[in-house]
């Protein structure tokens, strides 16, 4: 049975697009737009579908075998590709550190306020190191096996939280003026770093012989899934907490689950249960980004792959444990990632042009 198939690709793409799943973008969005966030959300959906489908198309124009490891290598050549790959490694490692810091601060906030950061980071990295050293397929297996339990549990808990919802909180759904929407448009980038990962993972799937049809279908399923999940998050937070409370909380989804009181005989609150799927998605994000960085780095350090692994491990450990003020560094890391995202999006038209010209050259040659 093939480890790489279209279901696996769909789940992997979903996890790439999801990121940490901590929904820390909701306060930032509702702060300026209040309940009228849906216009921004539509912009996010359009951008994600547009860029994602373009990347799938670019992937299809690539040959199954090429001398490189990312899409940059194919579209920009080896030298420029190497420069972009190095900055990609930096970005992926930064996002790994950011994800870990988010996960740790979430644990500190919800369960263990006094546990040292380094202990929690090491606990998480122990998972990643095992998977990275075992290879791509082992990482895929881990991601796939945990996907459905975490997804189902999270969705059930989100649906349960509608018990205390007030749907009048959703109004006004349309902004009265479009100026704040335009002003807050750059915040869409908070939800799009997952697209960077496709630069690494799509060529891997291409090498495994994933067909164009299956890639398209997987991306569409993953995108629909992620849009529905984000929409459910947003809808639940707005309906239960209201836009003003949502904008003042760091973890609005967690708080929303926390206020749900059960009258059952064994459990009274559900927030720690909700922490389980969230932490699974944080660990998944860490794995995906760390493996992306490791894959690109090991392409250049062959055959010294163990050294590449040690470098990745040490860098992530330093990025997460050295900062004295994790919140501030989290913002700094966010800026680095957004800067790379912007650069990446600006490169997209060039990549598309290269792809178009190569296809044309091939046609003329025929």
């Amino acid at each position: 049975m093939k480890q790489v198939n279209r279901n696996v690709l769909a789940i992997l793409l979903f996890e790439c697009l999801l990121g940490t799943g901590t929904a820390e973008w909701i306060p930032s969005w509702t702060e300026e737009l209040h309940s009228a966030v849906w216009a921004l959300f539509t912009l996010y959906v359009l951008l994600m579908f547009g860029v994602g489908l373009l990347m799938i198309r670019l992937m299809q124009s690539m040959p199954k075998e090429f001398a490189g490891c990312t899409m940059f290598d194919y579209f920009f050549g080896q030298k420029v590709g190497a420069v972009l790959n190095v900055s990609l490694i930096g970005t992926l490692l930064t996002y790994t550190g950011k994800s870990l810091l988010l996960g740790v601060s979430l644990i500190h906030y919800a369960a263990l306020p006094y546990t040292p950061t380094v202990a929690l980071v090491l606990l998480s990295l122990f998972v990643s190191v095992q998977l990275l050293s075992a290879g791509f397929e082992a990482m895929l297996r881990f991601q796939i096996v945990l996907f459905w339990p975490a997804f189902i549990l999270a969705t059930i808990l989100l649906l349960i939280s509608f018990r205390t919802s007030d749907f009048s909180n959703l109004l006004p759904a349309v902004p009265t003026t479009w100026k704040p929407v335009v002003h807050s448009a750059p915040r869409v980038m908070q939800l799009l770093p997952g697209l960077i990962l496709l630069v690494v993972y799509l060529p891997i799937f291409k090498k495994f012989g994933m067909s164009a049809d299956n890639s398209n279908r997987s991306f569409v399923y993953a995108s629909i899934g992620i849009v529905l999940l984000h929409a459910l998050n947003l809808l639940a937070v707005l309906a239960v907490l209201g836009p003003f409370e949502a904008s003042s909380l760091q973890w609005p989804v967690l708080e929303m689950i926390r206020i749900q009181k059960l009258t059952g005989p064994f459990l009274e609150r559900l927030d720690l249960i909700f922490l389980l799927p969230v932490l699974i998605s944080v660990v998944s994000a860490v794995n995906l980004y760390a493996y992306g960085a490791y894959y690109v780095l090991s392409h250049y350090t062959k055959p010294y792959q163990r050294q590449a692994l040690i470098f990745i491990f040490t860098t992530v450990l330093l990025l997460t444990t050295l900062p004295s003020n994790s919140e501030r560094f989290n913002d700094v890391y966010g800026v680095i990632v957004t800067a790379f995202e912007l650069m990446f999006f600006s490169l997209m038209p060039f990549m598309w042009l290269r792809s178009y010209m190569r296809v044309r050259e091939r046609r003329i040659a025929k």
Partner: protein, 480 residues
Amino acid sequence: MKTTQQLLKSIDPSFDVVVRPIPNARMDVVFISTIVDLTRVEERLLGPLTHIPRQRRGDVSDWLDNTLRLSDIKRVSNVDDAVKALFANYAVLCLQREYIIVGVQGLSRRQPQEPSTDIAIRGPRDGFTESIDTNVSLLRTRLKDPKLIFDKFIIGERTRTTVLLAYVRDLAHPDIVREATERIQRVKIDGLLENGVLEQWIEDNPWSPYPQIQSTERPDKTVAALLEGRIAILADGTPFVLLAPAVMVSFFQTTDDYSQRWWSGTVLRLIRIFALMVSIFAPSLYIALTMYNPELIPLTMVLQLAATREGIPLPIVMEALFMELMVELVREAGNRMPHQMGQSYAIVGGLVIGNIAVQAGIVSPMMVIAVALTALGAFAIPNYEAAFVTRMIRFPMLMATSLFGIIGTLGFALILCAHLSTLKSFGVPYLTPFSQMNVPDLKDTLVRPPVQVTTSRPATYWSPRSWLRRATYRTKRSKA
């Protein structure tokens, strides 16, 4: 006789090495009296030889071929081969220039009995025995397919144990058969007394606590595995047969799942999965909720739990570890005792120790309940090795929980899941088919659907004819 002298020189003298000269035929018969069937030797070998006609004295080998009513006769010229045959229950006829080896195996063996580990409520009652011939016959009588192959290996420089690799030629994946053959051939050891040793030599990751090869005492289970495209490894002297590749799900499937109606089978399987979860997580969750996050439990229950723990000097983690160790101690002692005493000891030991521990104020009644649930959960897992690992991983999980609360439980579970993701059994990922999300293969995993739905052979074990059965079945149905 020169050949006889050479043969005897190659072995150390022993009380049971018998040399019977046959003067009429100028030959000697050498055998080991303790491992051959003496009746067969006397009636079918020595009897005819003493009546050898005079004119045949010169060359008797052809005459022997035609006269002896024994099917297993071979000629060897090498003294080493003759020695090996002598210790493999053969009688050796030492002629002037060659040896003839005659199969006269006669060691009495246990008859097939109901397996002691793989118990089925509704299913065949015969199990494998220590005799490899009996085991092969049990398989052959169930699977009358000419494509059932047995490849023979001799393992152990000194024990020279016969090992058979069984598979159905057009169902087992050739790569898996080739890999198994290579791994078995690579085993160079002095002796093989039990195929648990062989299992450790040929498994993919010897450092993992998880079994990567399934063992069974049941011929019906083995045949079912062969029909799924798996391979079976039989060794002489052990009633356990190894089945490979083994994935995690295969350790939770039993004969009863299939012999009963689908919903009974499904309920049984779900109970087993629940048992696994309880066994792994019950004490850890109890500690996490009472020690770190009591705010999650309703107030009345917290007060009740606090009341039961009143006056207990041990921290809750030590309490759990103490009780878990006690349970393991009782279980191990029960295993080592004679069967008649073992069960009674386990019950009495468990009840008495639990009761006295509560009365003495060392542990709380809730902890006894949690640990008892854990033990029951582990015993509901059908495979011994899988159950043992489940019990053992509780200890590091308890430690992780005591350090990090519910985050420790989750963290350790994720580490375990990552480890399982890296495991393979003969190239087949251990978490198959969950890790591929291939819907047709997920049918017979957590639930056991009706047999009409599961007519397809799962691709889990890479069987090259994965979908053939379903196609045939559908064609037949549509024709009907």
